[in-house]
């Protein structure tokens, strides 16, 4: 063996240098999109398209279709036009699946921003994956307490990567107190809360309804948490009857409310006002209750009469709802406005981010958001805790008009900018 042949053989040192260079290559050669011909920003979206929560995502196809048309021209960032690719995944209404698809979007599709909507079962697992995998995340359509405290959030610390806009329990309480302020109704309230993320938050003695209700002079009868998909509410109903409750409130899923409401009729319990969160949001649920759906009351986050317009298209709330009704022939639902607003915020963040390749810059853009969307102002500097900002909330009643039911705003004390549409009728 000659000397030159020996020196051609890879030495241990050369081998190590080569290997470490190869291993480090992905970190050094970070792909910078700003120089690409047609740079694309990837947005991951998770919602419950199928399963028991499907009502919340019923309008997704229509809203996302419209958003994609708007984005097809590209969004301008630092003088350069970026294409936006929205990759939508179905959580199947299952928190396990929501975590899986969020991880797929983050690790597989390598999305730059992940967004999610509708109930803690969707927003929380997605936000948890985003937090650990360090991807900016924006969520909506879930009261902020179950989102923030349900994820073991500490108001002093907050989260780094995950941001949320919606209303909170304090808003529901204010809206409901205003709704229940009626001379002919006594101040005895029956509270019915399930043992799930929303029910535990609403019924929480400190952060939920009980404390402010007592402060406002109401007596609350709370027979304790029931398991979701319960089929017998006799004990709750007799407790309410015994206490002489004239108002019933709570947070239920539609099948539980249908059972409860039918059993109230069978057992001769007829309160004057029934105000339930979550169960009474959708016209399809009210229609399924028949005549007993008339006069039920609920929280209202968005209606076609809200005095806001889209920052993307300039169209009014009414125009947005009308386009959905015209395209699908189905009645409008409240999530339409919020799904549109979610992408308004996303577009605003994409436009303002200092560097779309840097998650920290995207987070900076989220933190400094200040826009008027179709559901109201979104500005994280003004939130109750670091990662949350709130949109206005009112309350109202389902009233029968001809063949269908109409959701009418009947009280607006917490958000006077939203006009009242009619009088509250007692049941």
């Amino acid at each position: 063996m000659t000397k030159s042949a020996a020196s051609n053989r890879p030495t241990r040192r050369a081998f190590l240098t080569g290997v470490s260079a190869t291993l480090a290559a992905p970190a050094i050669m970070r792909h910078t999109r700003a120089y690409a011909q047609n740079p694309v920003v990837k947005v991951g979206h998770v919602s419950p398209r199928t399963g028991p929560l499907a009502g919340f995502a019923e309008a997704d196809e229509h809203v996302l279709g419209a958003i994609e048309t708007i984005f097809s021209g590209g969004l301008e960032n630092n003088g350069k036009s970026y294409g936006v690719e929205i990759i939508s995944k179905d959580s199947q209404s299952n928190p396990n699946r929501a975590a899986e698809v969020a991880a797929d979007l983050i690790l597989g599709e390598e999305v730059d921003i992940i967004v999610a909507a509708s109930t803690p079962d969707t927003t929380n697992p997605v936000a948890d994956q985003a937090e650990v995998n360090e991807v900016p995340c924006i969520t909506t359509d879930c009261p902020w307490q179950p989102y923030f405290f349900g994820r073991a959030g500490d108001p002093a610390v907050g989260f780094d990567y995950t941001y949320h806009f919606f209303w909170g329990l304090e808003d529901v309480i204010a809206a409901f107190l205003d709704l229940w302020d009626h001379p002919d109704v006594s101040k005895a309230i029956g509270g019915i809360f399930p043992n799930d993320a929303d029910g535990n938050a609403w019924g929480d003695p400190e952060l939920g309804l009980p404390k402010p209700l007592a402060g406002a002079g109401f007596t609350l009868t709370d027979p304790g948490r029931y398991q979701p998909l319960n089929d017998d509410f006799t004990s709750q109903i007799s407790a309410f009857k015994q206490a002489g409750c004239e108002i019933v409130t709570g947070n239920m899923i539609p099948p539980d409310f249908a059972t409860f409401w039918a059993q109230c009729a069978q057992q001769g319990f007829s309160p004057k006002i029934v105000t339930i969160g979550k169960a009474l949001l959708f016209p399809s649920v009210i229609e399924s209750l028949g005549d007993r759906g008339d006069g039920l009351t609920t929280e209202i986050w968005w209606t076609p009469n809200h005095p806001f317009s889209s920052s993307l298209t300039g169209e009014s709330s009414k125009a947005l709802a009308d386009s959905y009704v015209a395209a699908t022939g189905r009645p409008w639902t409240q999530p339409i406005g919020f799904k549109h607003a979610l992408f308004e915020v996303t577009a605003d963040v994409i436009r303002r981010a200092a560097d779309l390749d840097d998650p920290a810059a995207i987070l900076d853009a989220i933190r400094t958001t200040d826009i008027q969307t179709i559901v109201g102002g979104v500005n994280w500097a003004a939130g109750p805790v670091k990662n949350v900002t709130k949109t206005p909330l009112v309350a109202g009643q389902w009233q029968k008009t001809g063949d269908g039911f109409d959701l009418v705003v009947t009280s607006n004390a917490p958000a006077p900018e939203i006009a009242i549409g009619g009088e509250l009728k007692l049941l």
């Binding site: 299952n94 699946r97 797929d104 597989g108 948890d128």
Partner: protein
């Protein structure tokens, strides 16, 4: 020379030798995955590994011990909750909590087994489901772990596994791969042991096995406790990846039992190969069709019906019947001396 001298009893066959060789190569490749695979691929492989483990354990129960349990989610959820409780309240490192979850699973499986082994057949199946529902309802009352709302694993705990994200991902990946290999190896060694012979006898005919002096209760008890322990370990690792636990997610009969039964039935019940092949088919279907929404679930149903009608012993059972091939050397056969 008598005929007996010309033949020997062997377990290994050319097919099993080749399979073992390819298996070892494949394993080396998989161990090295953090160097060649992307983050998403690693996550997918670890999910596949966890399902291989769950399916192999269910197959051991149902396919060999005749214990058709539809309540294995009780132990998956238990392992998950154990991980959350141990790490949040007692500061146990997450990776250490995974083997500890096995101990917790075994400790709880003992009284449960004593209770539900009084039931047989369909009653046993329903009994296991009831136990799982009891677990779900009990954990829904534990407000320290979020009650019915569930809770998230604080990001600090996850980041405590390792300083860098890639190392963290590599550790959880190796844990998943290691667990799957451990489970398959355990099932293989168990079936080759004296107890395995008893199990095979029970699988083929319980009454005949009793008459040979096999203590059926003890054999089944042993299998039940072992698979409960390992299922709890798998559960802990599953929820370390999910980062969030709630009673409905932890004790989901769909995710942790129905899909697992689907996998085993499709792949071939009562074979070691079946659960592995079933898992691969399940993931092929899921990765290609899951975006179709309800259509995906319909396809799963059709596949299950078609396989059950055409190949009642599952795909591997069908191949085995036609060819006699066995990748894991279990069956003793008489072969001519070379």
């Amino acid at each position: 020379m008598s005929a007996a001298d010309n033949h020997i009893v062997a377990r290994a066959s050319p097919a099993s030798r080749i399979a073992a060789f390819i298996g070892v190569l494949l394993l080396i490749g998989l161990i090295a995955a953090p160097w060649w695979a992307g983050r998403a691929d690693m996550r997918l492989i670890s999910e596949i590994c966890l399902y291989v483990a769950l399916a192999s354990l269910w197959n051991l129960l149902a396919g060999y011990a005749g214990l058709v349990s539809v309540g294995q989610q009780a132990f998956v959820g238990l392992g998950g909750y154990f991980l959350f409780a141990a790490t949040i309240f007692f500061g146990v490192p997450p990776l250490a909590a995974i083997p500890l979850a096995a101990a917790a699973g075994a400790a709880l499986a003992v009284p449960i087994a004593v209770l539900i082994f009084r039931l047989r057949g369909a009653y046993f199946a329903i009994g296991t489901w009831v136990v799982a529902e009891v677990f779900r309802l009990v954990f829904a009352q534990v407000s320290a772990l979020g009650g019915g709302s569930g809770t998230s694993l604080p990001a600090g705990i996850v980041k405590g596994i390792a300083a860098s994200r890639s190392l963290r991902e590599a550790y959880t990946y190796w844990m998943a791969l290691g667990l799957a290999v451990l489970v398959v190896a355990m099932v293989y060694m168990l079936l080759r042991s004296r107890r395995g012979l008893a199990l095979t006898a029970i699988r083929d005919n319980e009454l005949a096995a009793t008459s040979l002096g096999i203590d059926i209760w003890r054999t089944k008890f042993f299998v039940y406790v072992i698979s409960a322990a390992l299922t709890a370990s798998v559960g802990a690792l599953i929820f370390l990846q999910k980062l969030r636990i709630s009673p409905d997610a932890a004790f989901s009969v769909n995710d942790w039992t129905a899909f697992v039964i689907f996998i085993v039935v499709i792949g071939g019940i009562g074979t070691i190969e079946g659960p592995i092949i079933g898992t691969i088919i399940f993931f092929l279907l899921r990765e290609t069709l899951a975006d179709l929404g309800t259509t995906y679930l319909l396809v799963l149903g059709f596949v299950a019906i078609a396989v059950m009608l055409r190949a009642p012993k599952g795909l591997w059972g069908y191949v085995k019947d036609k060819t006699g091939v066995e990748l894991f050397a279990l069956t003793r056969r008489v072969v001519p001396k070379r």
